[in-house]
Amino acid sequence: MSSASLNVEIRRIRELAPGIREFSLSRTDGEDFPVYSGGSHIVLSLPLGERPHRNPYSLLGDPTVRDTWRVAVRKQEESRGGSRWLHEQAREGMRIDISAPVNLFPLIRTGRRHILVAGGIGITPILSQARELARLGADFEVHYAYRGPEYGVFSDELEALAPGRVHHYVQSRREQIEFGSLLAGRPLGTHFYICGPAGMVAASMNAGKSLGWPESHLHSEQFLAPTGGEPFDVKLALSGKAFTVPSDLSLLEAIEQQGVDAPYLCRGGACGQCELEVLGAEGELIHHDLYLSADERASGKKIMPCVSRLKGGCLTLNL
């Protein structure tokens, strides 16, 4: 499922702290942004090299503000370049494409009490969740950990939302969240949400599980798996066409662009309609569908082109 994209202009860039920048985005068609729920993210398509680079970022602003969306980006030196581009190349006035919002880190509306934990730049989805809980009048608390005082970039915004309910942990002052005590003795119906460095997330999950928390009450941020992938070549045996599937199109979309009629229904790997016979594959079939059985996958003879791809050289299909 590739998402419908929106074209936006970078309206404002703010340096929040060393290596942390905030971007304010507005639609270039002048329309309002759609509404979104706390914990949602969007995917930015960044013009690095010849193919766009897709990076997910959480929306951190107020969902009722429909003319501006905000994301905050930490520069990751080891990254493949998305965050570096945003820090080094991005300028106010530039235009980029973004996806519609997706929420894989939603609040649980049946929860009685909510504990939100943010580590560093992990504050971004937590901020939109806190805003939503405040609007709903829900019972919640926020625990915000960062390296040094200058890195607590959204402290003021958070305090304004939830006065008296935000706890700060500043690493340079040797303050640290003790998950064992944070999660102990909580009443049934409490939900825990965390976004932060992998080690911190793992520590909190382990603490929760060993204290007997049900897994369904422990939530950590998830992003949508990127839809595209590496480009690869395709030969269609029956129609005699040969072409390359670019990184930002599905195999099914690329076949359709060649004017070849291919069956489909759901376009999301579930219905089974688009199944094609693989005659040859130089490389590994990357199956993303929900349809083929393990045996069918192992046989290497079938592919669902609406979601699946080849990693490697050339794929020959009986079409």
Binding site: P34, L265, G272
Partner: protein, 347 residues
Amino acid sequence: MSIAFKPDETFRGDYTYRNSPAAIRRFPFPFHQDQYMYSVNMEPHTKGPAGSVFENAFDIDEHYIAEMRDRAITLERDPGRCVSLPHMMDAEWDTLELIMESLSRDYPDMFTLAKDGARWSWINRPLGIEQTFTFGDAATLPCPPFEYITRQCQGDFVIMDQRDNDLFADAGMITSQADWSLMFDAGMSFMEWHGPVPLAHELGVFERALKYLLMLQQGRPVRRLNWTMTINPRLDTSPETYPEWGPDRASVTPDNVGDKVHLRVELQALFRLPRSNGMLFSIRGYLASMNELATYPRWAKRLHRVLSTLPNELAEYKGLVRYKPTTLEWLSKFDDGEVLPAGTQPE
């Protein structure tokens, strides 16, 4: 107005509901092939051809006014047909917004929505309703937002809350269901409320459908068709009122099949809701009698073949067993054995 409504037709008592020739022509006949089996028959709910039932997000047709009256009668008798759990309030507003924005965009001669910040004005001309209210403040509407808007939109509605990698039916407006109970299913998970359906679980249909739905994205709704059969053009075929309609199944005779037996097709669409991250499930029902369908012999032939090869488990689950032989006998006179290419078109 472009639609000639039939405000006086009835779905109970004297059953005066009928389809115009134009309504028959656009009937969403569900059978592509001569056999039917459950599958994950879902596709993007994109704009279909002009005049078709897929043209708009929510289809309004000539039965609109009469169906809304029938809903009001059912609610009067049993207010429990509209249920919403307390955590669904954002999803209620999401639903009101989606339906008002869709109807006013797709049928501007019938519905108008004007917004001045949170102050909204809604005009529904066919039902003669004008309402100014504050979006987000339920006290400014005559009833809660979900009930308010679904009393004005054809079709049944369920809103699902998504949590724990599952979908829970936590709100619903159900007045025209094919023999299942909202009171019974409210709060249940996807697998729980599909529990009684035969064969589909073994085929993995529900497992795949659920995974697909959990990833449903905002602005990218999906749809599917489902079908059953009903005796008399009755909307309220709920378990709660079974004594009022169940016995009709035994009333089908070779002389009245054409009038009494109806194919009932549900156009089901699923929309991700923006504020609540919930999911709206609309179940838009269409009824056509055997006589009406047989005005297109292709459909009569196709239905004859589907019913004669339908697995017994499905016939039993759908409640067709009593009158299936009489219906098959009646349809057989249209079926000359012609090979029908795949497709649902009437001609």
